[in-house]
């Protein structure tokens, strides 16, 4: 019960800072939209390749922009010695991990809420009856990415070249998430039968569960001032 309160307080702190500084979410949104525009140059106008590759582009935009946000998770705490303060408070360290992860899920999801409509307009994506499922896939992908990403950002924040380290650590490990998310998004958008989508969603759920547990177990070894 107490842990829940602690997590709530920490998440509230992060969200409040973000609402006041508008530091992370807007830079992520602008970056994600820039990615969408850049990828547009690959295609000749009026081909259907654009729609076919749109899921991949969507996820590249999500993943690259998430990296920006994830990088800030612990770096911003280090700047004024905040981490020391947080660690000195009488609470379980796992609460810090869960709160940081939750805050990351909220931030990345917020970026998607802004980016998805832009994507639908720019890439002419069909909004069909499976839109709810698409949102679920987005959420599952973000969840897996955020759990591993939060752990690795704690590692990266303590290395000499923090900004460069995170994607190098994170991208190879999250290959299953990237693949699962892209494939299920692709099948959902091209209105393939759901029986083709479910295996990939199961993979996403499996990855989310396994890595949530593993990261939760290993977190205490990487958290530092």
């Amino acid at each position: 019960m107490n842990t829940l309160k602690h997590i709530g307080a920490l998440v509230y702190k992060d969200v409040l800072i973000e609402l006041r500084s508008r530091e992370v979410i807007w830079s992520m949104v602008v970056f994600a939209i820039t990615v969408l525009v850049i990828f547009n140059f690959i295609f000749d106008p009026g081909t259907d390749i654009m729609q076919k590759t749109a899921p991949g582009i969507l996820w590249v935009a999500i993943i690259f922009s998430s990296n920006l946000g994830l990088n800030r998770t612990f770096v911003k705490e280090q700047e004024a010695g905040n981490m020391q303060g947080i660690l000195l408070t009488p609470m379980d360290r796992s609460a810090v991990f869960l709160a940081k992860m939750l805050a990351n899920v909220i931030f990345i999801s917020a970026v998607q809420v802004i980016m998805l409509p832009v994507m639908i307009i720019l890439y002419d994506l069909p909004v069909t009856g499976t839109f709810g499922l698409l949102l679920l896939v987005l959420f599952l992908g973000i969840l897996g990415f955020a759990s591993v990403g939060t752990l690795f950002s704690a590692i990266a924040a303590n290395t000499k070249s923090r900004e460069i380290m995170l994607p190098i650590l994170l991208l190879p490990v999250t290959v299953p998430v990237i693949l699962g998310a892209i494939k299920s998004t692709q099948y959902l958008l091209s209105a393939e039968p759901l029986s083709k989508v479910y295996p990939w969603m199961r993979l996403l759920i499996g990855f989310d569960v396994i890595f949530f547990v593993v990261c939760y177990l290993l977190y205490e070894y990487v958290i530092e001032e």
């Binding site: 690795f152 290395t159 000499k160 290959v175 299953p176 499996g206 070894y221």
Partner: protein
Amino acid sequence: MKQKSLTVDLVLITLSYVAVMVALYMAFLYAPTERTMGDVQRIFYFHVPSAWASFLAFFIVCIAGIAFLKSGNEKWDKMALASAEIGVLFITIVLLTGPMWAKPVWNTYWSWDARLTTSFVLWLIYIAYLMIRQFTADNERGARFAAVFGIIGFVDVPIVYMSIRWWRTLHPGAVIAGGSGSGLAPQMLATLLVSVGAFTILFITLLRLRLKSIYLEQDVNLVKQQF
């Protein structure tokens, strides 16, 4: 003590030498030429054992990482580091011999098939593992981070493989324990097994030598600090 350790080294080096020579003889002279692929198939006896040695190496990285986090004993961390370096070496050999074999057989150097892609991702993961150590100023901290990453990396391997297998696969299935149509000629199987044995001994020898050099580096650094 020192004398005994040197004897073990000597025995291991001799064993590796003999085993590799036997494996070479079997791969090039004893094993029959494959019917459709021809002589190029002989790369199989280096490709598969290298893959095996790299998996063994990464398995040790994971186990040593867990042992290090549990006990805090630095010897496990050194073991993990040495094993990771040698694992990267072997997986690099896999990634180099693969395309040499694939070009004449599949008519392409590279295909984004399950095992190829998994090996590639594996290579990237353990390069990142070595980079963590390089870019962490404080050794103790770097060791802890690397252990965490090594465990996650190893847990990730089967999931990466499964996900990519669903995606596409071209690589031949398990030739030894596969279903009908799989199977090796007895001489080929014998050659493969000897080769796997030789690579395992070679791996253990390299691991031991690298561990020794890590301890020597540590001693040298200590001496440097004193003067």
